[in-house]
């Protein structure tokens, strides 16, 4: 059922794409049709796989480091008010600096290899994770915190046992955004300078007007994002299952059968 839906979405997207190409008469060197892209995808599957693999590693490492850094900053920010006052502006700035300005600096410090891409991807997902987590941590139920204080809990114990679990749903929100953003982080990281990876392949293909190859790479990247997002989503849902959710549909009132005849 779920797989079926995904397939239908995919088919719908492709149709939309085809329609777009036809209706707006976009020249193929700007937006090729899905068929051309699919053919190219199959024809250069090895190449895509080779570069895709590199990018996948960067994405996962970036997600890992970024999440770790983000969570650590958030804990720091919530643990002490001074940290918050000083760290928050830094955090915001970290988000606002365009990569290309930092690229030479990053290459200088981290070299041309994996490291600089991972740093880039981490930087990009760092802020959403940290911001969401901070918000979650600060929104802990004051009643619970009061209770813990009377119980003689240290601020650290309160952080770990009360604020942290309570902030998981908010953290999950941030992580979902991060999961969808990490691929673009890695690709932008490859922009810093590389000779492998989907980002490299795309720029390369773009520079040479191999637009169908570029879109094939793009499709693979989108696939990564979706896989990452929905895998993480499922995992996070399990972790925050205690949190009541109310779909407009799922929590609908049931209806009892009206009585038919005397029973």
């Amino acid at each position: 059922m779920k797989l079926f839906r995904v397939l239908v979405v995919a088919a719908g997207l492709l149709l939309l794409w085809e329609a777009l190409v036809r209706l707006t008469a976009v020249p193929p060197f700007i937006l090729p049709g899905p068929l051309a892209v699919a053919l190219r995808f199959l024809a250069q599957f090895d190449l895509l796989l080779h570069h895709g693999w590199v990018t996948a590693v960067e994405i996962l490492l970036g997600l890992f480091c970024g999440t770790l850094m983000g969570m650590a900053s958030a804990l720091l920010i919530v643990a002490s008010r001074p940290a918050r006052a000083w760290l928050m502006p830094l955090l915001v700035i970290s988000q606002a600096l365009p990569v290309f300005a930092l690229a030479p600096l990053l290459t200088l410090w981290f070299g041309y290899g994996l490291a600089s891409k991972v740093v880039m991807a981490s930087l990009i997902i760092y802020f959403p994770v940290a911001a969401a987590f901070v918000d979650g941590l600060r929104r802990a139920d004051p009643g619970l915190i009061d209770l813990a204080r009377v119980m003689g809990a240290s601020p650290l114990a309160i952080l770990l046992n009360l604020r942290l679990p309570g902030a998981l749903p908010a953290l999950a929100s941030g992580l979902r955004v991060a999961a969808a953003t990490a691929p673009i982080g890695a690709v932008v990281g490859e922009w810093v300078g590389s000779s492998r990876g989907l980002g490299y392949l795309m720029l390369h293909a773009n520079a040479r007007l191999q637009v169908d190859l570029m879109f094939a790479a793009l499709a693979l990247l989108a696939l990564f994002s979706l896989t990452l997002y929905f895998t993480l989503d499922a995992a996070l849902r399990r972790l925050t299952a205690w949190q009541p959710e109310s779909d407009s549909v799922s929590a609908a009132g049931f209806s009892l059968l009206p009585e038919k005849g005397p029973s």
């Binding site: 009892l256 059968l257 009206p258 009585e259 029973s263």
Partner: protein, 252 residues
């Protein structure tokens, strides 16, 4: 209350959470225009039964037949006061009271009813707190806002889950009289833990007890509610009711 209150008839109600059945095959009649009280041990399924009648499902399986004496569906003419106060934290006390009007008719409709809501708030002893946020109220005050909201709904059928549990004896006594007065003619179903409260307000008292839980109609207190608490008959009945409740507890 607008219109004639119907009687409500529930047959073969069953409810299950996961592997644990709360009750199965319960039959219940709520006589038209009368006040029915439900007592029973904590956790036996009173709230679940009330919610089932209100059409609210969170259980994994819910079954049963529900009908009204006038043949019309119950939905849309029932007011519900939950065990939690369920106030909207982001809006004022007054806006919480007119919530029903707002949800059904929009902001304009709600504004027209604000006078009536303010009067109800005065009646429950919250004059002057209309513009406060619920977060700044005490537990009993919050419950009184929820009560005012329920009374405000002006429905022929009213379901209330421990509506006076957080109130002091004096305020409780006064608000029981108020509710009894305002809900005269309504078909009321109220869960309570206080036998005296049940005896004071109910035309009929049911006890949910046993394993599997069954409804046992116990009393039809005589006289017109609200009955005075110092009535010696009431004290005697309270003793008998406690015995029934104790038996139920021992049976479970």
């Amino acid at each position: 209350m607008t219109g004639q209150a119907p009687s409500v008839r529930l047959r073969g109600a069953a409810l299950r959470f996961g592997g644990r059945a709360v009750f199965s095959d319960l039959d219940l009649d709520l006589p038209a225009g009368r006040w029915t009280c439900l007592l029973g041990e904590s956790g036996i399924g009173k709230t679940s039964l009330l919610r089932l009648i209100a059409g609210l499902g969170s259980a994994d399986e819910t079954r049963g037949h529900l009908s009204c004496s006038d043949g019309l569906p119950l939905a849309g003419r029932v007011a519900y006061m939950g065990q939690r106060d369920l106030l909207l934290p982001w809006t004022t006390v007054l806006q919480n009271v007119v919530l029903g009007a707002r949800l059904r008719g929009g902001r304009a409709a709600a504004r027209e009813t604000e006078g009536r809501a303010a009067a109800l708030l005065r009646a429950v002893g919250l004059a002057g707190r209309e513009e406060d946020l619920p977060g700044s109220l005490s537990g009993g005050m919050r419950q009184r806002v929820a009560l005012a909201r329920t009374l405000f709904e002006d429905c022929p059928v009213v379901l209330m889950d421990e509506p006076f549990s957080a109130l002091d004896a004096v305020t409780r006594h006064r608000l029981q009289a108020l509710a009894s007065d305002l809900l005269r003619g309504c078909t009321v179903f109220m869960v309570t833990h206080d036998p005296l409260e049940a005896l004071r307000l109910a035309d009929r008292i049911e006890v949910l007890a046993g394993l599997p839980p069954q409804l046992r109609p116990v009393f039809e207190p005589a006289g017109q509610a609200p009955r005075p608490l110092d009535d010696p008959a009431l004290a005697q009945q309270a003793g008998r009711l406690m015995i029934v409740l104790g038996d139920g507890a021992r049976a479970a």
